[in-house]
Symmetry: none
Subunit: 133 residues, 4 copies
């Protein structure tokens, strides 16, 4: 049993073509934007996240650095990295663009297996009705 409930669960998709550091940034941004990560919350340490995601620590460093440059997080040397009070400006359009990119990648991947958009919608609808999520 873990001591604390994780506020954010980052998943790296090696097949997406999106650079790892970019995937990390995007997911943290989105978590801030929709309230899963609130001001003052501590992010995982570079090392623990690197182990968790099985990526090079430098990759995490790069992601955190970019977030810091944008002012979304503060790094306190020797203590950790924390969500700053700067609000993330994420319009519905921005959100939709990210979703669009994800969906496009998925649809293409599915096409490689011979599935159509129709197949996907059908399966997803059934999937939802069965109460999974």
């Amino acid at each position: 049993m873990d001591k604390k409930k994780e506020a954010i669960h980052i998943v790296i998709d090696p097949t997406s073509g999106i650079p790892y550091y970019r995937q990390i940034i995007l997911q943290i941004e989105m978590a801030i934007a929709d309230g899963r990560l609130t001001v003052g919350r501590q992010l995982p340490t570079v090392r623990s996240l690197a182990v968790d995601l099985q990526v090079n620590p430098n990759t995490v460093v790069r992601a955190y650095n970019e977030l810091e440059i944008r002012g979304l997080v503060n790094t306190q040397h020797g203590t950790g990295t924390f969500i700053s009070d700067k609000r993330v400006e994420m319009s519905d359009v921005d959100r939709e663009q990210i979703l669009a990119q994800l969906v496009r990648g998925f649809v293409s991947q599915s096409a490689s297996y011979g599935f159509t958009v129709h197949d996907i919608i059908k399966y997803l609808t059934d999937y939802r009705e069965e109460g999974a999520l």
Copy 2:
């Protein structure tokens, strides 16, 4: 309304950061997935598409090449490039299992960005109604 019926209309966005050849692949895969490109249809010739998109012919070659390796298209030397059958030996049960696996992975990935199954279905449905892209 265009005068002639286009089998596929590819657009390159130089600002997206996605490599040109990958944009071509994605759009062809999507066209296959939503039925705009059907089995046996001929793709534009390498040279004509290169002129059309204003990219180097080699860039188109590279895209077609990857599609060929993946088995999505067949190349007939000296003749052209065609959408292949690809609905290989696969039982419906196998198909469903593969689709299930793909969908589960995608839903989990989307969830880490804060998107729900509902968001995905909505986007896909809109996407279909708008006639792609």
Copy 3:
């Protein structure tokens, strides 16, 4: 006897009529097939192999690329290219069926050239004993 143990030694034959990039692919595949290259091993870097073979780096890139698309190797950007696992989800029964299908096709193909199963086995056995190529 060479001083250092080579994981793989690739030789390009410019007179064979087989494209360079394909010769590279074939030899790497064969090295995987007979166990000289095992999972996780790093391939030579693009540049070093290009120098070694006296071909253009792009030619090596192309070979590695196709191997990557087929799932035989994994590329880690900025790090190198490695033999991937690839023993995907496949039961022994499935494996045997696929092998059977491959072998049947090959035997039939060989027969049309006048070669018998005996010829093939003999060649393969000799091939193994000579330590490949």
Copy 4:
């Protein structure tokens, strides 16, 4: 029920990378060399072979042309194409080279599915013992 028993059965492998016309030439050469095709025998007509192999008639024409240039066959306008009396010089080395090329392609293909040379030899040996050919 066919009227005559075919002396030669040509098989085109679209995945081998060997040009179709080349595959036809090789297989006819081998058939002449090992006595399956004897002097005076008629080859299939261009059209019938093209239909049979599902290739462009021009491809067959090209193969027959090259065989004619080498003096292996005679074309009698309006009558057909016949094996000439020129012996095919095909040394064991030549034969082995052709076999080598075929086997290399097959081993590589098998590697893509994760099979080793050992797997192949084992399966082939069993295959032969079961009396199949």
